[in-house]
Structure formats: structure tokens, C-alpha cells
Amino acid sequence: MSNFILISHRQRINFKQNIFEFVLNRLILTLCFLFALYSCTKDDDKIAFNDIPVVESYLIKNNPVSLTISRKTPFEDNVTLSNDILDQLQIKISYNNQTRIIPSVGEGVYRDPSLLPQEGITYKLEFVFNNQLVTSSTDVPKKPIGFNQSVAVLEVQTFDFGGGFPTGPITMPEPVKLTWTNNDESYYMVVIENTEVSPVPIRDFGDNTPPGRFFRNEPTQGNQFEIQSMSFQYYGNHRLILYHMNPEYAELYKDNGNSSQNLTNPATNVKNGLGIFTGLNADTLMLNVIKK
């Protein structure tokens, strides 16, 4: 704050000449000083925490309905949560003019082994949390059709430079091309899973953590996907699962930012809640990755 004083000391005041300027200038400096004091003592406002539930449920054809309800982790301490107990909610799913109460199995999970979702039916979710009605609805999409692969066996050379540079040329196999029928620009995603009990790595991971057994493409509205041979990390049998999904699920793969400059609310199809309640359908092919 020293420049306040700097200015005021240096003001050479000639009372006779300049009372008006003097008064005005003093007034301005005083106001500035008061302003600086005011601004230094101001506190940030706190924003209220809204306790709404997080839903996670995938309705897959012929798989028993399962649903997980959780709370979001508050950012601030000392937030007030609602009195609802996560295992004592009355979760209703209605379809075809029927309503089912889904029983709790503990830890926020609700499951009904007798409710097996079917294609083309709309399922509606409804429950009360924090005195609000939480709702959502979804359909189970059709099973993918025309799912094909270009090869069933893929030969991949070992990448191991432990003993120095490899001699001779390295062959990179052609990518595995997956195709399916998609006439309505709906969303598809391929998940590739190594099914071996103890898979053999294709390359030396060095000190790095070994990669997981799954990898996938991004949700696409197209009708094909090429798996680059370099994407495979392990030898052995792989399941190639093609999911046919609803747009609300594809939205989940979008990044909602992690900086105050770009944060936005994540996508959700749950009203008065967060998370996902969506139907899925899948088809599976097999691929064997072997050593060349």
C-alpha cells in the first residue's frame, strides 16, 4: 500500500492556490485507501452443495437388471447430506404397464434376477431421493447385425530390443478390420478383451505398469473399426465385443474438463440425479493373436 503514501506526501499543496484540487485529490486517495481495505477483507462466497444421487445401470439384453446408487463426493467439507439411506430406497422400474420394485442387495446395489431386459422396450426408472423424484428412461437397442472380422488369427512379431537392434526387416501385419451394419447412424463401440488366464506380453514393458487386458475404440456412428496390430499388448485369445448403444451412453466418453477455465457438467440422462441408466446390446467375435 506504500504508493498511497508516496502520492500523498509528494503532493505539494499551495492552500491559497489550490484548495479545491487539494480536497478533491485527498478525497480520491482516501476513497482508494478505503476501497483497498474493503477489498482485502472480502470473503469468497460459498456455494451450496446439492445432494443428488448418482445412478449406474446398464440394461443388457437378457442380463438381470442391476443398479448402483451412490452419492457424489463433496468438494467442500461440512456439507449437509440428505437423510436418505442408500440401501433403503424404493427403486421402481416400469415397462409395458408393469412396475417392479427392485430389491436392495446392500452397498447401494439393487438387483432383480427375474427382470431380463428385452429389445424395443422402454424402461422407466423412478425413485425419491432428497425429497425429489429422480427419473430416467431408456430402451434396449437392437442386437448388432452383420458383425464381421477380416481375420480370425493375427500373427505379431515380438518386440524385444533387450539384446540390441533387431536384424532384418520387421513386418507389421495389416490391421484387423471389423465391420457391421449401421443404417441409422446409431452409436457403436468395440471393446477388445484378452481372455487368457496369464497372457504373454508382445513387448517388454520395462519398468512401466503392464497395460490392462481391455482396450476399446471411441463410440462411433460409423460401421467399421480397424484394430491396429500395435494396439495388442498380449498374445492369446481375444473377445471382440461390439456394443450397440444409446447416445446418452456415448456422451459419457466426452471430457468435461478439469480446469476452472473449461469445466462443464457431465452428460447424464437422469433427471434430478447424475450418472447413467441405459440399455445396451452386443455381439461378440473371437480373435487369436499368435507369435510369428
Binding site: 486517495l29 456455494i47 457424489k72 526387416p169 520395462g206 476399446r216 478439469n258 476452472s260 457438467n265 447424475l274
Partner: protein, 912 residues
């Protein structure tokens, strides 16, 4: 006393206005000849008015009064004031006082009788030969012959005045007498008085001004620092700056015109990451930047820390904060008009500067009497300042790059800019100029990988390592900048009609290449596979402008012109060789015309400038009308009020693409009338200035209503494994908003110690219906902003200090987090976020200080060399630019991204 007299003065001005008009309107009934002390009693008798004057003083002046020239008593008094050193006043009592100065006037008023005064100095007793004639002239710098634009020229004792055009040319209509005194003021220069001499060919007048080599401090700010200039100031709410004056202000390595403006009210100073200006709640892209007539689209150097303008190549900068003339268009908020130096016309000059950031050199060479040239070049070097700022701005992680083994980083980054100008004065009436500008940043983060010596890992990419028949190389660089050029033909058709024809080109480019290329050589056939991203934005602007100005008479100036711009904008976002995620190419043209008429009424006290601008935009096939109105009124000799209103459209927008991984990127796009509508703004500005000889007080208010403003969002979802595609979604949010505020300025203009305090109270709110019905604080909203600048001159030293305080900008933060298990087995974390911009960052404040010493080398005239030392952020305030969030073990962690801490700098400037 002064306060008292001021109030009295105000009262008297208000009450006598009626009377004054009646007495001053009395018509002269015959011609008179002789000395003033003989003539006036005669006039008094004939018209039944009483003059009070000092006989001894007035008998020194001789004239002829003619009914067809002076016409009225008022006209006669005006001629007296213009011709000689005297002031006149029609008193409350109906008497007409004629005195040498204010002091004598007071005496006359108190005694109402002839007062004997000692006259030490007075003008020659001249008899005007010519009356009400047209006076034109040209302004030059006495040292280097540089033409001086936008200077103020007034006839002493009258409210008659003009402003020089960009060629330093001015026209004054109806100069009362050829014994008048012409006063020229220009920021950074000594005020010059020219006593016209009868019988001499006064027009055109060549006036040479001298630069204020040392006391730059007192003239740093505003076009209204002189009370005579103030009277003529009809352009509302504008700041003028002399780049020469910048060097005594604290800086971080470079004296920067944009940073200079940020110390003034209405221009936000709290954004270190943008050299572009946030004027009155507007964003940098809403500020039109014209450099010698062409539009500059990128002003940032080094993450926006410096502006791309080399102040050694700039002669004049004006910032129109709002309500700007019809001549300007295509932007919602403000106009920055930059005029480059022509170059020394008297001798060749070389200058050089070195700071901890850059090297700067300029060369001015005249060829004969008619051609001047200027060339300036500046380049950063990778010293301590460059590294410090670039480390600060470097993204923390870079996960968009395919994961490979480690390596060290080799940065070969720099920025440069160059300015060139050739001026050819072909005839007395024609001036041709060619001006070129290029400012470019090159940021290279290409990693240099080292081959592991027999170690494990797939590691080898980098710089071009080769393994048998596979070779890989990584690139990671950004290059962005602007190149522009204009050719300009100024023609003075006659003293009243001038024209200016300009053809220009401007190219903004921004490329980011973050790719890895793998070359596989198999059986003599080599295949190249590229992965990673390539982003490219290119804007080309080809423009023609034809401006005309016609001076009907001293009360009526008409300006009109036509313009046309052709835009071609490309934006491409490419991934993995062939996959183009976004590939946009837009082309459009804008054409139209404008006209405006500056009219003066009430004895030049009231100036009104209505204007109209008409645009045709080919992308929407629509015509856009922009009516404008500008007015100012001299309420009292030192008090001026001004106001402006108008409608403004913007057709090209800069959008910022958020990219957390490698820093935000911005690019330009054109409105298409559908997804991105043409945005518009209505301005309403009102201001009052009270200008004393030593102090200036000003208060200005503004309100802007913005329609169809858009915000852009493009998000990427990165696949957890290499090789899978990046999905992009683009979204434009369109909405409305408003911005309003009050700006206060108190400035001490003269003396060894001078400076100013400025305060801005502002608010910017937007509403995007697709997001919410509520208005939210825009990202650039700053409630309070206080800036203080003090400059002290002591011998050959200049000391300066500035302190800036600004309310923290708004931001959005998570209120909670949750995670979902996705069907591919991965778990993804999500933030539940607060309402948009519901939080505020901590207040921004910092203090900068500087000391500079002027000295002589090589027996030069004046003190042209200087050594400056400055400290940025003296008390090392950690100012937060944004916050970063992370979920670790179900806990949200927050980290602050800060601006620059304490940073000293030293600059040496030498001129040969």
C-alpha cells in the same frame, strides 16, 4: 480561492448566457478604424454598450473593423482574441470586459474602471489583412521529419480547432484574422504557438514540433491533457498514447503499447495471459486492431505475455473505447488504431535495444527528399525471461502424445516481429506508403529421446532415431502469427478535399503439429505412418478502403468512404495421417460504405457527429445498418461532456478451443448466420471531464447490450489406449449479454511528480438459453479495478511505480465428484460442477517499479540513450490464473495455476 472562483465562474457562465447572446449579437452599423482604445468608445456609443478595458494596453493595437467582416460585436471580440493576446468577457452586468489576461480581467471587474498595468510583453501591433480565411498546414517532427497525425490545432482565444489527419495535414476554416495565434498540441511533444503574420503567405503552414525528450512523464496519457485540446475533443472516450512515453513505465522486458493501455480506466489489467485488450467488458477479439490500415488478428507473443507490436516502429496509437466513428466497423467493442513510423527524413538513424527477453534493432534511412524508409526487427532469445514465462505456461502433462519411453526436452522456441515502411512523397499532394508487419511465435517442444544403451523397452522414438529398417521421429511445435501489408495512397485534391485509398492484406496463421511419424522400410518399399494431431488455422483478409473527407466550413466536416473485405478462413484438425476430424473452409465478403458529418453549433460549444455505416455480408446475404451518433458539449471552459451511441456488428469471431492437455488454442471463424450468428452490440456512453492546468478528472459511464454472442466449446475424449481415435464434438453456445460500468480517472499532469489513479466499476453478464435461463458472469467480468501510476523525475533519472488491483475473475468449480464403471471395465471420474462461473478467483494485485537513467554517448544532442531497471510484481504476489482439479482416491484435489511472480529486468537502449 480557486474553488470559490470556480463556483462563481460556473454560476456566471450559466446566468449570463442569455445576456451574452443578446449583446454579442448586436450588429456593427458602420466601419471603424484606429487603435482599439479609440474605436471601442465609438462602438459603445453607436450600439449603446459599454466596454471596460485597460486603455494603455489597448492603445497598442490598431485595426479596421468592417461590417461585412466582423458583422457583430461577438465577431469583433472573436477577432480580437484571435489576433492578439487578450481575453474578453460579457459580464453579468452587461458590460464587455477586454483584458490582457485573467488577472487583469479580475481587476477590471472589481474596479470597473481603467486600471493602469505594467505591460511587459505583448504582441506586435498588427493590423489584420485577411479575415475569415482558410488555413491549412502540415505537422512534422523537427528532429526526424516524421509526419504527425492526430495532433490538435486550435486558434488561441477561440473554440476553433482541427485535428491533423494520418499524414499530419490539417485544415482550419474561417480563421478570424491573419494575426491569429495557432497552437499545436500533440502527446509527447512540446506545445507550439505560431503567430501568424499578415501580408505573409501563411497557408499552407509547415509546423515543426519538438519531442519532449525528457519530461515525457507528464504527457503520457489522454488526448485531453491540454485544456485547449479538450475544447476540441469531440471524439468521445478515447485514449491516445505516445509510444515514446512508454519507456519510463515499469515493464517486463519490453515496453508494450497494449500493456500501457491496460493501466488506463476501462481496459482490464488483470489478464497477464493476453496481450489483447479487454475493453469495457469486451473480449480481445471484439477490439479491432488496425496497423497502418490493415487488421491484425493476432497480437500475442509468448502465450500473450507480450504484444506483437514493437514500440520502436510505432508513431501513434489511439484506443477508441466505445461509440467509435462510422469509419470503423466489424467489431463490437473498441478500436485500436496504430500508425507506424515513416522513418527519419533528415538523416539515417540506427537504434538498438537489448533486454533480458529480446534484441531489438531499427534502421531509418531517407533517400533524397521524398523517400523515407524504416525497418525494425525484434527477436527473443532463450534467456532467463523467455524460459521463465514459457515454463509457467507449459502444460503440466501432455497425454495426447502416444506413450513412449522417457527423454529430455529440447526447446527451440522464439518469437520475432518485423516492421517495414516506405513512404514516398511524390508531390506536395500525393503520398504513397507501403507498410509491412510480421509477428510470429514458434514454440518447439519436440522431445529428444536418447537411445537406451542396450536397455529394455521399446523406447526409441525421437529426433529421428533409426533401428534397422524402422525410423521414428516426433514433432511437437506450434507456430502462430500474423503477416500483413498495406499500400496507401493519400491524395490532397485541394485544401478542402482529401482522400485516402488503401489496399491491404492480412494473414493469420496458427499451426500445431504434434505427430509421430514412423517410417517402415520393407523390401525396399518404405511406408510412412503418422499418428498424433495436426491442427491448422489460416485466415486471409484482403481489403480495400477508400476514405474521403470534405471540409465544408469550420462547422461542417463530411467524411465518407467505401470498403470491401474478402475473407478466407480454413480450419483443419487432422489425426493419424488421414483422418480429418474437422475440415472447414469458409469464404465470405463484406462490402459497404459509411458516411458521417461532424457539425458544430452554439459557437462551437456543441459538436454533433451523426453517422451511418452499411455492410453487406455475403454469408448471410443480408444488409446490416449501423447508425452512430457522437456528441460533445463544452459546458464550461474546463468542463466537457460527451456522449455516444451506435449499433455495431461483428462478422468474424475468434473462438478459443479449450485444450487442457496442451494449452488453449484460438482460431478465427466467420459467422454463417445459422450456427454462428452475426453478433451485434448497442453502445451507450456518457462522460464528463474537468480539466485543470495541472489535474484532469474524468468520469465516464458505459452500457453495451450484446446480441448473438457465441461461445465455442470443442471437447475431446481421449481413449485410454494408444491407437484409438480421438472423438471431437463441437458446440456453439449462442446468447445475449450486457456489459456496463463506470470509469473514474484523476490525473496529475504536470510537475516532477505526476501520475494517475483510475478506477473502474464494471459488470459483464451473458445468458446462453441452451445452458441456463440465468445470466452468469462472463469470464472477463471484473467488478472493481483500481490502478495507480506514479512517475517521478529526478535529474536524469525517471522513477515509476504502478499498482493494480482487480477483483478475481469468475470461474466454475466442481461441487462434487463421482465415478462410473464403464462397460469396457474402466472407471471414469466425473465432476458435478457449480453454476457457470459461480466462484471468484482471489483478487489480482501487483506492484511494478522501474527506474531509468538517460545518458549521452557519442556526443549526441539530448539524452537519447537509456538504461532501465524494472521489477515486475515487486512483492511477489501469487496471482491465480485458473484452478486445476483432480480426483485422487475419491478426493477432489485442487491446484492453483499462477501468473508470474517477482521478475526483475534490465534494458539498455542506444541510438546512433
Amino acid at each position: 480561492m480557486k474553488q470559490f472562483s470556480f463556483i462563481l465562474f460556473l454560476l456566471s457562465v450559466l446566468t449570463i448566457n442569455l445576456k451574452a447572446q443578446t449583446v454579442e449579437n448586436f450588429k456593427l452599423t458602420k466601419n471603424y478604424a484606429g487603435t482599439l482604445d479609440e474605436i471601442l468608445p465609438e462602438v459603445g456609443l453607436d450600439l449603446n454598450v459599454r466596454f471596460i478595458f485597460d486603455k494603455d494596453y489597448l492603445k497598442k493595437f490598431k485595426t479596421v473593423l468592417m461590417t461585412d467582416q466582423e458583422k457583430t460585436v461577438g465577431g469583433m471580440l472573436k477577432m480580437f482574441r484571435a489576433s492578439w493576446d487578450m481575453i474578453t468577457l460579457v459580464g453579468n452586468d452587461g458590460f464587455i470586459y477586454i483584458a490582457k489576461d485573467k488577472e487583469q480581467l479580475d481587476q477590471l471587474q472589481n474596479h470597473k474602471e481603467v486600471v493602469k498595468t505594467e505591460i511587459t510583453q505583448y504582441r506586435k501591433k498588427l493590423v489584420p489583412v485577411k479575415r475569415n480565411f482558410l488555413l491549412s498546414g502540415d505537422l512534422y517532427d523537427i528532429e526526424n521529419g516524421e509526419r504527425i497525425p492526430f495532433a490538435t490545432i486550435v486558434i488561441e482565444g477561440t473554440t476553433k480547432g482541427a485535428t491533423s489527419d494520418q499524414n499530419g495535414h490539417f485544415v482550419l476554416e474561417k480563421v478570424p484574422a491573419d494575426t491569429a495565434v495557432v497552437v499545436v498540441t500533440y502527446i509527447g511533444y512540446h506545445t507550439k504557438r505560431i503567430e501568424l503574420e499578415p501580408q505573409k503567405e501563411n497557408s499552407p503552414l509547415k509546423i515543426e514540433l519538438k519531442q519532449q525528450s525528457v519530461g515525457i512523464a507528464e504527457v503520457f496519457v489522454t488526448g485531453r491533457k491540454d485544456d485547449k485540446a479538450l475544447k476540441q475533443s469531440t471524439v468521445t472516450q478515447e485514449i491516445k498514447m505516445s509510444p515514446v512515453a512508454l519507456k519510463i513505465l515499469p515493464n517486463i522486458g519490453e515496453k508494450d503499447i497494449m500493456r500501457g493501455f491496460q493501466l488506463m480506466p476501462g481496459v482490464s489489467a488483470s489478464n497477464e495471459g493476453s496481450a489483447g485488450m479487454y475493453v469495457r467488458g469486451g473480449t480481445p477479439d471484439q477490439n479491432l486492431i488496425l496497423y497502418d490500415g490493415f487488421t491484425v488478428y493476432n497480437v500475442d507473443h509468448l502465450y500473450g505475455f507480450y504484444s506483437a507490436f514493437n514500440s520502436n516502429a510505432i508513431k501513434d496509437v489511439q484506443l477508441h473505447k466505445g461509440g467509435f466513428d462510422s469509419k470503423f466497423g466489424g467489431r463490437l467493442s473498441s478500436v485500436t488504431e496504430i500508425t507506424g513510423k515513416d522513418g527519419n527524413s533528415k538523416k539515417a538513424t540506427v537504434g538498438a535495444e537489448i533486454s533480458l527477453l529480446s534484441m531489438n534493432t531499427y534502421l531509418e534511412v531517407p533517400f533524397g527528399d521524398r523517400i523515407t524508409t524504416l525497418f525494425a526487427f525484434r527477436r527473443s532469445y532463450q534467456g532467463y525471461l523467455y524460459d521463465k514465462i514459457s515454463t509457467l505456461n507449459k502444460p503440466a502433462t501432455n497425454t495426447s502424445r502416444p506413450a513412449f519411453g522417457g527423454g529430455s526436452e529440447n526447446k527451440a522456441s522464439y518469437f520475432y516481429d518485423l516492421n517495414g515502411k516506405v513512404t514516398f512523397k511524390a508531390t506536395a499532394k500525393d503520398v504513397y506508403t507501403l507498410s509491412i508487419f510480421n509477428g510470429t511465435d514458434y514454440l518447439d517442444n519436440t522431445p529428444q529421446f536418447k537411445m537406451p544403451a542396450g536397455g529394455g523397452g521399446m523406447a526409441p522414438p525421437g529426433g529421428g532415431a533409426s533401428m534397422g529398417d524402422i525410423s521414428m521421429s516426433n514433432t511437437d511445435f506450434s507456430r502462430y502469427g500474423n503477416v500483413g501489408a498495406s499500400t496507401n495512397w493519400d491524395r490532397k485534391i485541394n485544401e478542402k478535399l482529401t482522400s485516402n485509398l488503401l489496399a491491404s492484406f492480412s494473414d493469420f496463421y496458427s499451426t500445431r503439429d504434434e505427430r509421430r511419424s514412423i517410417t517402415i522400410n520393407l523390401d525396399g518399399v518404405s511406408t510412412i505412418r503418422k499418428s498424433g494431431i495436426l491442427e491448422d488455422n489460416n485466415l486471409i483478409d484482403l481489403s480495400v478502403k477508400d476514405n474521403w473527407k470534405y471540409v465544408f466550413d469550420d462547422k461542417n466536416i463530411f467524411e465518407f468512404g467505401g470498403f470491401g473485405t474478402y475473407y478466407s478462413i480454413n480450419y483443419q484438425y487432422q489425426q493419424n495421417d488421414t483422418l480429418s476430424i474437422i475440415d472447414k473452409e469458409t469464404k465470405a465478403a463484406i462490402a459497404g460504405f459509411y458516411l458521417q458529418n461532424k457539425m458544430m453549433y452554439l459557437n462551437n460549444l456543441l459538436t454533433i457527429t451523426p453517422g451511418l455505416r452499411l455492410n453487406f455480408f455475403s454469408a448471410t446475404n443480408k444488409i446490416y445498418f449501423e447508425p452512430r451518433l457522437n456528441a460533445s458539449y463544452i459546458l464550461a471552459p474546463k468542463v466537457t461532456i460527451n456522449g455516444a451511441t451506435g449499433l455495431y456488428y461483428q462478422f468474424a469471431n475468434r473462438v478459443v478451443r479449450e485444450d487442457i492437455m496442451s494449452g488453449n488454442r484460438d482460431f478465427w471463424i466467420l459467422s454463417d448466420g445459422k450456427e454462428i450468428p452475426v453478433s451485434s452490440s448497442v453502445h451507450l456512453n456518457l462522460g464528463i471531464n474537468y480539466d485543470l492546468p495541472d489535474f484532469l478528472y474524468s468520469a465516464e459511464g458505459y452500457y453495451k447490450r450484446n446480441q448473438n454472442i457465441s461461445e465455442y466449446s470443442m471437447r475431446y475424449s481421449f481413449a485410454p489406449q494408444p491407437g484409438s481415435a480421438v472423438q471431437t464434438t463441437e458446440q456453439f453456445f449462442v446468447g445475449n449479454g450486457y456489459t456496463m460500468g463506470i470509469e473514474l480517472l484523476a490525473q496529475k499532469k504536470a510537475g516532477k511528480f505526476n501520475g494517475w489513479i483510475s478506477y473502474t466499476l464494471g459488470q459483464v453478464k451473458n445468458r446462453f438459453p441452451t445452458q441456463s435461463d440465468q445470466y452468469f458472469f462472463a469470464n472477463q467480468d471484473v467488478t472493481n479495478e483500481l490502478k495507480m501510476v506514479g512517475i517521478y523525475k529526478w535529474g536524469n533519472f525517471d522513477f515509476s511505480a504502478s499498482w493494480i488491483y482487480a477483483t478475481g475473475r469468475p470461474y466454475t468449480a466442481p461441487v462434487g465428484a463421482y465415478s462410473l464403471t464403464l462397460i469396457d471395465g474402466t472407471t471414469s471420474s466425473y465432476y458435478a460442477v457449480s453454476d457457470k462461473n459461480a466462484y471468484r478467483l482471489p483478487a489480482y494485485h501487483r506492484m511494478d517499479v522501474a527506474a531509468s537513467y538517460r545518458f549521452n554517448l557519442f556526443k549526441q544532442k539530448g539524452k537519447q540513450n537509456s538504461l532501465s531497471f524494472s521489477v515486475f510484481n515487486l512483492y511477489n504476489r501469487i496471482n491465480v490464473s485458473s484452478k486445476q482439479f483432480q480426483v485422487v482416491d475419491d478426493v477432489i484435489l485442487q491446484s492453483d495455476i499462477s501468473y508470474l511472480g517477482i521478475t526483475p529486468n534490465i534494458t539498455l537502449s542506444v541510438k546512433f
